[in-house]
Symmetry: C2
Subunit: 137 residues, 2 copies
Amino acid sequence: MVTNKNELTEIFPKGEKGSSENFTGNAYNVGLIETDSLLTTAVGNVYFEPGARSNWHSHPAGQILIITDGIGYHQIEGQPIEIIKKGSVVKCPPNVRHWHGASADVGLQQLYIVPNTEKGIVNWQEAVTEEVYNSIK
Amino acid sequence: MVTNKNELTEIFPKGEKGSSENFTGNAYNVGLIETDSLLTTAVGNVYFEPGARSNWHSHPAGQILIITDGIGYHQIEGQPIEIIKKGSVVKCPPNVRHWHGASADVGLQQLYIVPNTEKGIVNWQEAVTEEVYNSIK
């Protein structure tokens, strides 16, 4: 069997392709639990193909990302781009702008946790430019 | 290479062996984020060896389990034991007694999410008897 470096382990269904209004490239999102008023938490998985990333956005109650496979980038506005990979766990505080996605060459499998959903889930903003995305190199 | 059915994919460090006061058999826990007052969420991973399981316990604000590999059991008190495996996601409501662990023959890799940690994390109770554990068969 030939193993491709871009062949990531899939734990969850691939889900639906994210809108080009909110993502650059191909990103697929699947919600993993029905968000409710008891647990007030949204959980899901996003698979980013190589080069794909979210727009800039913020979460009224913040976000936790858990990387289960692949290699990608996460940037909190005003901070350097950090490399995230299998086993990485990162937090973004409430109402802070960030973006995340795959590296140029390897995709990314990431779980997201949005706590305290009674405050809201996400506020989408502008796309991440090629200049910003490529500034990691 | 010989592949053993009990060889599960490890995404996170194995962590520390759970106390025999709270677990039957060998279970290893690693916290994945520093719980804080901003995100009010605890996240970690537990690896249960085959046959290992938690005691009965409850969470003041409930819990979400995400299974990343292996096969195990989850039981909410008064309900049948449900089989959980790679890709399963289950919720337990606040202050409801439950237990979870590996199947007898195959281990379990599971992420846990405890929301709204300002209400508390976990209340440990008695061990799951062999009779209850084996009642799945």
